[in-house]
Every structure is written in structure tokens, then in C-alpha cells.
Assembly symmetry: C2
Homo-oligomer: 347 residues x 2
């Protein structure tokens, strides 16, 4: 270390941290030496001693959905502003991976964590975090128990979407989700959407659950529209999926919104770059990341636990060209006969 100046490490520490007295002269010499030698503190030693790593763990299911990237950007900004760094982990929607990732984050002594988990109401990863008494805050998740979390009210948001779709004149609609079973968000959005339709005395929405990114989406959509030809609009549980639906519809010869209206969820940046512009529930994903990080940082600073309970941020229905009035004739009529896939009758 910089005992280049001929003084003890303690003095250097005091000078560089302004944490103790030092004569103007030694101070200058230390500063000069540190500058020349390009000295930087080793945060590891500091962290080890202070039991504070100045590091926040962030765990997301994936980076490929821009909504997560955006939240991370927000968390990153908030963290950097407080002199904190982000330790990143991806769990690929896998609960085991979540647990493993949290384990590693804890081993690395993160001071707090921001995360989106598969199942916030029963998560081994969260349990681990709690046992370790590391402050955390969920993002996007909407747990039913009283947990620190920030997001939007998925039920209300989806209800709003449903109402807008009803207002546009649609009477029979479907909900499309990527992993309905595994995601409380998809479930809550379905619930809100259903509630809106029920309020208006419309039939419950059909529910289309697709397995993975778009693979069989086209076929499944064809199948659905054949089974229930009255459907004139789709509500997708996120924007990426909505776009995938739009493409699938286009390939089936169904124009959006002429033959089939589509509404998304999240309001990621590209939604208003595409054509037709995607109608969606715009959510402040970056702000969510920022808020979550701030909450955790506050908890770290004060030593108090993170405020429990869901912090709801405002959402907004953003109209787009992809939601229009239903066409008089049923979309199914426009389906090409020859592309009809093998219909898989449900039990």
C-alpha cells in the first residue's frame, strides 16, 4: 500500500477517507502519493471489515424481455447514485436456478436484493433471503402476502385493458399468456380481464397458453379461432407476446386490427415504433427498478426492514392502432382452409 510516503496504513486510511485528523502536510503527501501510484482502495478488504459490500443483487428471469432490461437500468442508476454496484443474475424462469442464484448472491455478501421470482408466494429463494436477513424488494411480482414489492396493480390494469377493448366494441375475446401456470402475473391479469368482461355481461375470455416463444403460436391461434369464431380481440400478457400474436395472425391472413385486435401489456419502448402501434398497458418499468433499488438502499442505510406491502405505481392504457372496432364478419371466416392444423380437442 501507499506507505510510499513513510507513514502508517492507518494514516493513509484516515486521509483518503477523511475519517480522522491529519496534518495538512501529511495529508498533502498522502494524496500526492496516492495520485501518482494510481492507488485505489480494495473494496474487498473494506467490505470484509465493514460488513458492507456496497453491492446489490439483481435477479431477473431473463434479459431478453426488454421490460426487465429496463427495470435493471433503473435499479442500476439508483444504485450507482448511491455508490452501489449491481451483481446480476438470470434464472431463466427456473426455480432451482433462482435458489442457486440467490445463494451465490448471498455468498458474495450483497447488501440487498431486487428480484422477480417465479412464485412470490412460495419461493425458496425468498425464504433464503429472509433467513439471511438481507433486505430485498420484488419487482413486477404481485405477491398475495405482505411482501416488499413494487409493480403495478395487475388486476386493475388488466381490467382497464378489458374495458377499453369492450369500449372498442369487442364482445368475445381471448387472453394469451406464455406460462399461465407459472406466473402469478399472468393469472392476475387474466383475473382482471375476466372481471371486466363479466361486468359487461360478456362471456368469459378464452385462454390461450403458449409454451415457448411463438413456436406453435400460429397453429394454436388458428385452432382457437376455429373453435370459438366469435373472438375478435386478443389480450396478451406481455408486449413481446402481443407482437408474436400479431405476426401469427398476419401469417394466418388476419390483419390487425381489421380482422383481429390485439392489446399488450408492459409498454416496452418498441411498442410505439412498430406498425400498427401496439395498444398496451404502459407501465413505468424503469421507475420500478429505481424504486425497488431505493427502497432496498434505504433499508440498508437505516437498518430498518424494507417497507412491506405492495408499492403500486401508476399504469396507463396507451391506445394504439392495434386495437380497433371488430369487423362485422367473423375473423375465422378469413382463415385459410388449407392451413388448418390438426385440431387438438381438449379433454
Amino acid at each position: 500500500v501507499a506507505e510510499h510516503v513513510g507513514c502508517s496504513v492507518a494514516t493513509v486510511s484516515r486521509v483518503l477517507n477523511g475519517s480522522g485528523p491529519a496534518s495538512a502536510e501529511t495529508r498533502a503527501r498522502v494524496l500526492a502519493a496516492a495520485g501518482e501510484l494510481g492507488f485505489r482502495f480494495n473494496d474487498l478488504g473494506r467490505a470484509l471489515q465493514s460488513r458492507r459490500s456496497r453491492t446489490l443483487g439483481v435477479l431477473v428471469p431473463s434479459l431478453l424481455n426488454p421490460v426487465f432490461a429496463s427495470a435493471i437500468e433503473g435499479a442500476q442508476a439508483a444504485a450507482a447514485g448511491a455508490g452501489y454496484q449491481i451483481l446480476l443474475a438470470c434464472a431463466d424462469y427456473d426455480e432451482d436456478a433462482e435458489l442457486a442464484a440467490v445463494g451465490t448472491l448471498l455468498a458474495k455478501q450483497v447488501d440487498g436484493a431486487i428480484l422477480t421470482v417465479a412464485n412470490p408466494d412460495d419461493s425458496a429463494a425468498l425464504d433464503m433471503l429472509r433467513r439471511a436477513r438481507v433486505p430485498y424488494c420484488l419487482v413486477f411480482n404481485q405477491p398475495s402476502r405482505d411482501e416488499p414489492s413494487v409493480g403495478v396493480d395487475n388486476v386493475a390494469a388488466a381490467r382497464e385493458a378489458g374495458r377499453r377493448m369492450l369500449a372498442a366494441g369487442h364482445r368475445d375475446m381471448a387472453f394469451v399468456a406464455l406460462r399461465f401456470r407459472g406466473s402469478e402475473r399472468a393469472r392476475l391479469r387474466f383475473e382482471g380481464f375476466s372481471a371486466a368482461l363479466a361486468e359487461a355481461g360478456r362471456p368469459a375470455p378464452a385462454c390461450l397458453e403458449v409454451d415457448e416463444r411463438g413456436a406453435d403460436l400460429e397453429m394454436r391461434l388458428h385452432d382457437l379461432l376455429s373453435r370459438r369464431p366469435g373472438i375478435s380481440a386478443l389480450f396478451a400478457s406481455n408486449d413481446m407476446l402481443a407482437l408474436a400474436c400479431m405476426r401469427a395472425a398476419a401469417r394466418l391472413g388476419l390483419e390487425t386490427p381489421g380482422a383481429l385486435s390485439i392489446v399488450g401489456f408492459d409498454g416496452v419502448a418498441i411498442t410505439d415504433l412498430v406498425q400498427p402501434g401496439l395498444a398496451t398497458i404502459a407501465t413505468p418499468s424503469e421507475a420500478m427498478g429505481r424504486h425497488a433499488a431505493s427502497a432496498v438502499l434505504d433499508a440498508v442505510a437505516t437498518g430498518l426492514p424494507v417497507a412491506r406491502g405492495t408499492g403500486f405505481l401508476d399504469f396507463e392504457f396507451r391506445p394504439g392502432d392495434s386495437l380497433g372496432p371488430p369487423r362485422a364478419s367473423e375473423p375465422a371466416a378469413a382463415l385459410p382452409r388449407d392451413r388448418r392444423p390438426v385440431s387438438q380437442p381438449r379433454k
Copy 2:
């Protein structure tokens, strides 16, 4: 620590690391105790002692462009596979922020770094990394000096795009970039694109440099097309920008590709979800992140420096509906008179 079992920390360390001998019995007792107490090593202590943090720094300009998110995902995967974590930093295209970020990463003792910088040929951040003898690898950057980097050959890729556009029948085209001055990638892409046009004896492409995300894009585009009415196609330096151009064109009443063809660069996931599908240079961004991380991890493991020189990965022109033949009449003819903005004559 787990001296719950009544033995020394050394023994525990040996057992839990399998790094030394231990009687079957003590081993069992230690394992049991560790399990019950939910003991996890503190990686900070370990890192401090072993001078190995098992952490890689990743520095990108932003997370909002999915191409970076995708590279990070790749790097993350590669790192996780080797038991490494990612320490994330964003620099917002600001060189000072880059330097500061690298400083923090170094203070946190990252074993290596993966980064995209504003100017790879003269970067204070890279200098700092070199001085610290921390292995690093650039992604996306294409430095002219011999630097460890992985990306695509931007000149060749842009030339390919230019050729495809020529093949589609376009004779006069423009290049659109977000920050032409600040990005060697934009410059190289312009170069390759220009070369393709020159080969074919076509006029050099017009160059439209936009300041920030789309704000004045519509006006600038209108301006450009008025000044040079023969332009029938745009090559944008990245996909997001290409989509923004498409929207701007649409607002000006110019259909894509009917009135104006547009080609992007990167091949981010949404390009083939939008309509019309965006023609683009598809690049393996996730693989870039993976390769960069592997290279750095190898260097860390072997102690050898990272292989210098640019590792070029394959790119591919991906046709899309946004590139079509030029229309006989000039697009400018379709421009609405009343929206014509104040024309800013260039010096």
C-alpha cells in the same frame, strides 16, 4: 463460523472445499453442522485471500438497446457456467462515466471485464484496465489497433447490406446514424455501405445523423428527402433506429417499403416480430457476449493475456419486407406540403 462441531476453522475449510484430508467421521459432522446452520462461505474473505473475486465486470453504454441486453445475457450465461458473477455498469455513452465505472469495477477487484466503449482506439477506461493488468475483451467495438475484441466485421456487413439494397434496385440511398461522430461502429458501417455504392458507380450515400432517440427524426427525414428526392432507401446503423425511421416515414405518409425501403443492423429479436419485418444484418449478439466472457475467463484461468486481435463472428443479411424495389415515382413527391418543416440549409 461452524465451530459448532468443536473443531477448528481449518478443518471446516478443508472439508467444505475438499482441499485436504479429513476423517470420515469429522467430515460427516462438519457437513451435518454446515447443513443445519445453513452455512455459506463468505466469498469476500475467500476473494481477499485468494486474490480472485470470481466476478467479471460488464460495461455497456445502455440496457435499452436489446442488442446489449442480449450480449449481457450471453456473458452472464458463460460466467455462471464457470462459477462467476457479473458486476454490471452502464455508461450512457459518456466517456467520463466509462472511466468512473471501470474505476469502481477495479476497486471491486473484478477478475476481468467485458465492455463496449465509446472510442476503443483512445479510451481512458481501457488504459486504466491495461494498467491494472486486468484481462478484458471488447464487444461490438471494432478497434483499429490490435485489441481483444469480438464482434462482426462492420465494414463487410454494411457492404453486404449495401449490395442487397443495390440488388433490390435502389440507386440513391441514405445512411442514418444516432451518433456518427462518437461511434466507430457507425463510421465503419458508413464506410462499408459507401464502398458498396461506389463499387456500383452510385452516388455516395447521404448521411443523416440524428441527435437523440427519434425526437426530430421526422423533420430531419423530411428535410433530407426534400433536399435529395432521389433517395429511395435508408440504411440505419441499428435496428432500433431503423424502426424509428420506419415510424417517422409512416408519419410522413411514406409507406415501407413501397415509398421508402429501410434496412437495419443487429438483428435484434423484435425485427421479425414487427410488420413489415425488418430487413437487417443479423449478428449473433448473445454469442458475442458468450465468446467475450469465455475469452476473458480463459485468460483468468491460464494467467495468459487475452488473445489480441478482433474475433469476427459471422453475420448474415436477413431479408425482410422492409426492403423492396424502389417505386418509380420519387418518395418526396408523396410528402405532404403542409408538414414541411423549416429547411435548415447546411453550410
